[in-house]
Symmetry: C2
Subunit: 361 residues, 2 copies
């Protein structure tokens, strides 16, 4: 697993020689061997044989392995719903999977310092995993970050760079910085770490698969990881069918939904508006095109939801399931409801019914 | 598992006939059959065969199964330290194990409403698990609860009773209330749920055991659960030795430490002072005597730590391990450091060294 490849044009490079493909698209690791593991390591490290680094010391060793929960009171439109509770990661978000792997890999490659561009979950997650493994960490945050959130990040002791203006462009600039191994949302390491959530979901149903996976989408990195896992599992013969992937975004900032709706192969940057789901409000998603490819390849779709719908979903998740989630997570449930209303995943209902009658389930 | 028994005088009663033993001590379920399970249910429900109810719907199904993490940068005094990250429960605390089981049992017994007396983690946890399983929930909180914390609890939609004055006595009064199945800190169901953390720890090391388990202690309910698991595992021949149990409390409110230090068999209520570890500041712990019995029986100990030591531990856990924990959790690490300073667990160091040389580890 020392080669990275472009999902689109197929060019390959030695890792970590390049950050992006010559064609401009993000890279991911070449497929390794995938198998359902016998090992019982904690969390995502059960799949260590399919990952480019071994578990790090400290909190990163606790990433992944989150529960897949049936919450029948949240079933809607005839769908038998399972929730993957990624809040049960060590710093409370799915980002820990990628951060843990990035830190583990940096450590194995003799790198002293990792970094990230984030003002939220990814900053906390990267700083925490670095602290546990004894790596230095640099976090670039916008100058106007709320003090409370800054305090959460600062607790792990990273170097914090407050960046005035042009925060959106910092992603590109970070790729050029020397001396820091930046692990932003769509780097091959982060995508490799985050694909483990789909290993876990698919293994729980194997060899059957869920009919659809609906997730909130920002940069497109997480969706890329899920797609990659599905491609790997299919190639290895571990699953027979592909779950359809559905991207859900807040209406105020939904460049991927717009591009998908217009049947484009490229996401154009938009002027994003304000939304309570600020942590997924990415007006120029670096893995946007790859996200579109994932939706097309799995015969999935994309949907936008209003802040009111997000608030209603958040409330329902707490009152009917016992799940307290941030607005950006509730976007997935709001998206599912919208897709059902529109009849876009009516077919799923039938398939779920069929699955419900399996005697082994 | 329909009989509850007094750990002290041995009297037994049909569950749920009595809340406390005639002698005044808390009760726990009679030992069931314990075995390392083959099943792979999520979290604590792996041990469902040793529990008095099956997994509930919703968030309670995701309780337990938390990672046991090596964080070598936190090793101190020659001790090889493992951290059990109970923050990775669905509502962020170990309380979910007991809440989930209590809700599951209430549901199986046809009860409509559960309740708890708490102004923090236990209130959130009980309300969340009840919501997921479709039960009503009543939460008694002190009238002066901070609004922010109240909002966290209210999100799950419980009935909230704000109680003026005498909050400390509400525990006893709640035992008499009709129509609500109160699952406070030391009820048999909560103790049964919370014992699963010790199943998980011991299974990870089996058939060896950790030399010591240091934990923060408030009511004594969690310590009781851990002790009970150890007794069960010993009786079943699954572990050969007992880990020593150490209770750590904040100096400002340490009735169990005082009683242990004075070699008393009963905990006397004290005038507790202010501490940043407010969520474990219990001046009159309902399972205090049982906690003392657990410490004695396992040849363990008890230690108090200052707020400064707690703050320093909190900082170290974040910066050296990547763990962000509330003050009351940091009390465990501060306690370990103090026990090492005092030479009280010097013997453990040697045992850990021995364990380190096992070729199978």
């Amino acid at each position: 697993m020392s080669t990275v490849r472009c999902y689109d044009c197929g060019r390959s490079f030695a890792f970590p020689e390049r950050k992006r493909c010559e064609c401009g698209e993000p890279l991911w690791f070449d497929h390794g061997e995938v198998a359902w593991p016998d090992r019982r390591d904690p969390g995502m490290w059960r799949y260590a044989d399919s990952l480019p680094a071994a578990a790090p010391a400290g909190v990163g060793a606790a990433a992944g392995g989150t529960p897949l929960v049936r919450a029948p009171r949240l079933d809607t439109g005839g769908v038998e719903l399972y929730l993957k509770d990624e809040g049960q990661n060590p710093t409370g978000s799915f980002k820990d999977r990628g951060s843990a792997l990035a830190v583990a890999s940096a450590r194995e490659r003799g790198i002293d310092r990792v970094g990230t561009v984030s003002h939220g979950n990814m900053a906390m997650s990267t700083a925490a995993c670095a602290a546990g493994a004894g790596l230095e960490c640099t976090v670039c945050v916008p100058a106007d970050i709320p003090e409370e959130r800054l305090a959460h990040i600062a607790r792990y002791g990273p170097e914090i760079l407050r960046v005035e203006g042009e925060y959106g462009r910092l992603y590109e600039r970070s790729l050029e910085l020397e001396g820091v191994d930046f692990v932003n949302s769509d780097t091959p390491l982060r995508v490799a770490g985050q694909k483990t959530v789909a290993y876990e979901i698919c293994e729980a149903f194997a060899s059957d698969v869920p009919d659809a996976i609906v997730l909130p989408v920002s940069s497109g990195g997480q969706l890329s990881g899920i797609w990659k896992a599905i491609l790997e599992l299919r190639a290895a013969g571990l699953i027979d069918e592909r779950p359809r992937l559905y991207a859900s975004q807040a209406s105020a900032c939904d460049p991927i939904v717009r591009a998908f709706g217009a049947d484009r192969r490229e996401v154009s940057p938009i002027e994003g508006g304000e939304t309570i789901a600020y942590s997924i409000a990415n007006a120029d998603p670096p893995s946007g095109n790859r996200a579109l490819a994932a939706l097309r390849d799995t015969d999935g779709g994309a949907v936008s939801v209003s802040d009111d719908a997000i608030r209603a979903a958040q409330r329902r998740l707490a009152r009917k399931g016992g799940f307290r989630v941030e607005a950006s997570s509730a976007v997935a449930y709001a998206g599912l409801e919208r897709l059902l209303e529109r009849g876009e995943i009516g077919a799923i209902r039938d398939v779920y019914k069929r699955q419900g009658s399996h005697s082994t389930r």
